[in-house]
Amino acid sequence: MGGHRGHDRLMPPLPAPLQELQEQGPVLLIFLRHFG
């Protein structure tokens, strides 16, 4: 896998739906660039 990998500890505040989801269990949060 490429890119810069790391293990951060501080998570920025998330919008409510994501906040609730990550309280229930681990979430793989994927940032997209474009659809297509």
């Binding site: 896998m1 490429g2 890119g3 810069h4 990998r5 790391g6 293990h7 951060d8 500890r9 501080l10 998570m11 920025p12 505040p13 998330l14 919008p15 739906p17 994501l18 989801l21 990550q22 309280e23 229930q24 269990g25 681990p26 979430v27 793989l28 949060l29 994927i30 940032f31 997209l32 660039r33 474009h34 659809f35 297509g36």
Partner: protein, 134 residues
């Protein structure tokens, strides 16, 4: 969408999948429905505040040079007549993936090149290992 193909493998490990994107919610709804993933949690972030908060930067010209970077964008923008306009410099935005849980980032990958295709299953596995070790 590659991650949709691996969604079952990821969720079978007890990890949910969610997305952050820069498009309007309506456009995202159509796109996720097309891939049969209309139930997935997704956040519209056209101002890219979350991208910045997670340390995802804009690509340099060198990072944009490979054709694998600009061809998908060009195909979407020109051939499908989408991608120009309100997103501004969004096409330069670098992406990434994070495993988050209860306020902590368990694993992170920030792409240095917009054409990178991460191994999402490996990222989730690493996060589980990291969480076990701690």
């Amino acid at each position: 969408m590659e991650v949709v193909r691996h969604r079952h493998a990821i969720e079978s490990r007890g990890t949910q999948v969610a997305f952050v994107h820069m498009s309007a919610p309506e456009e995202a709804d159509r796109w996720f429905a097309r891939y049969g993933a209309d139930d997935v949690v997704r956040i519209s972030d056209p101002g890219r505040a979350l991208y910045r908060q997670f340390g995802l930067e804009e690509a340099s010209l060198r990072q944009l040079a490979p054709w694998r970077v600009w061809w998908p964008w060009l195909r979407t923008a020109v051939l499908k007549r989408r991608g120009f306009g309100p997103q501004g410099s969004a096409w330069k935005q670098l992406t990434g993936a994070f495993v988050v849980h209860r306020g902590c980032i368990l694993a992170a990958v920030r792409h240095r090149n917009a054409a990178e295709r991460p191994d999402y299953v490996a990222l989730v596995r690493d996060a589980q290992l990291e969480n076990t070790i701690r």
